[in-house]
């Protein structure tokens, strides 16, 4: 292979494609080159000088972020010479950086803190000099700029210019007076502007929403998928004491690279709602009585088995597993199934192809499509009249939808949030939301992606697939899956596209399936 070159990095020999920057080659060799200005989704300006490494036979240290490997390179990231260079850069950065880690939101996930701890000087030689001081600036809807902490890596400037295409940030002034400036006539209010907070390697750009809310080391992190639209950006749910406190992007180079939009980022408060259904409620005459799951699923199974005409009104946030097993529960009946798809304006991220906040503001539109759920909501609501059974699967209903439910013989609500308007239902069954269960969504490009449980479910709430599968087991004796993984594996029998796929196949970045052929064949 002529387009591969052989290099040795800290004694590890690897072959990488020609043109690979040293910093990426080092990653493949398992060596982290400390860096600030470099980011894999941004152009590299080589301004921070942190990634200087020694290449044997080169006259001086080279920046690993912009220097590409050459065949036979012997590169030292962790020898004395490179380490001394980094120690000097860190000393420069710390001349003006305040030691306010105890009140800084970034502490614990700060690259300046980490690298200084690893290989910085133990003390300062500048204790006699006052540090530069600039006031905190309000940049926009969710971003504060703490100028004192800024190390001028310019990631934010490059993101807004090269990726968002809305160049409102600049480097103003120069030398030790330099700071990140904002066009005085503009705010940092681009729909994807919140990413500058994640890009900032220090605590200089911080989120107002997350300000002083939690310390980084108190957070538990769970891989998830954004529920905001059909793009299916990969996210990380950060919880503190089982409360979701923020969403951040999780890298997936094929879907969202390193970014999520501000709307998706802010869309987590509903996961913490306290007004939840916590126990199965079954109708005994005029009133609903709390009961256990054995009894509840028996009642549900009986209803589902005898119903001839069924309507399923589902939420687009329902997992593929839940949509599949609720649909299977009423097999044999005439079924009208639809998900509600709220629409909103599309907001693309200019610099990344095929990445946008999509018009369809549900995460599982394609998954619902695979399982026979339409998006024709008004038609499904119209079909309620005269139906034997309506299953409301966590859908957010407006008053007209609720009024239409009166036309059905029986209404079963499998839902998360308590809704007084649905008190006339035959069964009200508590289900888990996206933060409380394992499941999958299928994004608009038919990428099946897993999300993981981030916090415990309230009360007796169970995943909707479990409720439906247990009901089907009770009524018809069909085997019920015990785990989400088993539930997903069983979906293959319902949808050819998912046949043969397992959670292990999906990994953390998902897998694209063809809507028409079997998944395992790919």
């Amino acid at each position: 292979m002529s387009d591969l070159v052989n290099v040795t990095i800290d004694g590890v020999q690897i072959s990488v494609p020609k043109g690979t920057p040293i910093i990426e080659a080092a990653k493949q060799a398992g060596v982290l080159v400390p860096h600030y200005c470099y980011h894999p989704s941004l152009p590299s300006p080589a301004v921070c000088r942190m990634c200087l490494v020694e290449v044997e036979k080169a006259p001086k240290l080279v920046p690993a972020c912009v220097t590409t490997v050459a065949d036979g390179n012997v590169i030292h990231v962790n020898n004395d010479k490179s380490k001394r260079a980094r120690e000097s850069v860190l000393e420069f950065l710390l001349i003006n950086h305040p030691l306010d880690c105890p009140i800084c939101d970034q502490a614990g996930e700060c690259e300046l803190q980490d690298y200084t701890f690893q290989e910085g000087r133990a003390g300062t030689r500048y204790s006699d000099y006052a540090k530069r001081y600039n006031p905190v600036e309000d940049f926009g809807p969710d971003v504060l700029y703490v100028a004192n902490r800024c190390i001028l890596c310019t990631r934010c400037v490059r993101f807004m210019d090269n990726v968002a295409g809305d160049a409102v940030l600049n480097v103003s002034e120069r030398g030790d007076r330099a700071f990140i400036g904002i066009d005085p006539d503009h705010l940092l209010d681009h729909p994807w502007a919140g990413n500058v907070v994640d890009l900032c390697p220090v605590g200089s750009l911080i989120s107002k929403d997350f300000l002083h809310k939690a310390r980084a080391w108190d957070l538990d992190k769970t891989a998830s998928v954004c529920t905001g639209c059909s793009q299916g950006c990969n996210t990380m749910i950060d919880t503190r004491d089982d409360v979701v406190v923020r969403l951040r992007p999780r890298p997936n180079l094929d879907v969202n690279r390193h970014f999520i939009c501000d709307e998706g980022r802010a869309d987590y408060r509903w996961m913490n709602r306290g007004d939840r259904i916590e126990a199965p409620l079954v109708r005994d005459g005029a009133k609903l009585t709390p009961t256990d799951w054995d009894h509840a699923v028996e009642r549900l199974g009986a209803l589902a088995k005898t119903a001839r005409r069924v309507v399923i009104l589902a939420s687009g946030r329902a997992s593929t597993e839940s949509l599949g097993f609720v649909r299977r529960m009423v097999d044999g009946a005439t079924v009208t199934a639809a998900i509600k798809v709220p629409l909103g304006p599309e907001a693309p991220l200019a610099g990344v192809p095929n990445l946008a906040l999509r018009k369809e503001r549900v995460p599982n539109l394609a998954g619902a499509g695979l399982l026979g759920y339409g998006a024709e909501w008004p038609a499904a609501v119209a079909a309620v009249k005269g139906a034997d059974l309506v299953v409301v699967l966590d859908a957010v209903l407006d008053d007209a939808d609720v009024a239409a439910l009166a036309g059905a013989a029986a209404v079963v609500v499998i839902g998360t949030v308590d809704d007084d308007r649905l008190a006339g239902a035959t069964l009200i069954l508590p289900s888990t939301n996206v933060a409380e269960e394992n499941g999958t969504f299928v994004n608009r490009d038919h990428r099946v992606q897993r999300y993981f449980q981030a916090k415990p479910a309230p009360g007796l709430a169970r995943p909707a697939w479990w409720i439906a599968a247990e009901a089907t087991h009770a009524a018809r004796g069909l085997a019920a899956p015990a785990t989400a993984a088993e539930a997903f594996a069983a979906l293959g029998a319902m949808v050819p596209a998912l046949a043969g796929l397992s959670y292990a196949d999906l990994g953390h970045t998902g897998r694209v399936v063809s809507p028409t052929t079997a998944g395992a064949a790919r």
Partner: protein
Amino acid sequence: MTGSTHAHADAPHHPVFVGKVREQLDALFPKYPTKQACLLPALWMVQEARGWISPAAIAEVAEVLGLTPAYVRGVATFYTMYHLHPVGRHFIQVCGTSPCHLCGSDEVLKAILGATGCGELGATSADGRFTVVEVECLGACGFATPVLIDDDFHDSVTPERVAGILARYP
């Protein structure tokens, strides 16, 4: 900077790049590979015409060169010779580097600050006539103290000569 009129920060912005100035700029474009490369000359033209570079002028330069105001602002703030605040009709730069300092530049500066009525460095006199700043080496160490007024170079300035020189700048 010669002939500049004192401008207030809140005065309405009239376009700089019209007529002759526009022609000057258009003549520059073919000399550079990109319009962006004409940013520094364009900023000089603004300063020449208005005496300083206002936020509105920054927006105009950005528009004319197809750049963003934020970028133009970043460049304009980088260089210390662009005025981002209004200055007097005549801009006086006094050398204060070591050789001049030893030869008494402090006294010259004090005399100029007093005679102009500016009082302190960077301030503009009440009549809007002068702004005085101290600069590093004007490159005439053998002729201390050099003073640059607008584009005119005065060497070997002493406190005694200050009044006579200033009289030439109404």
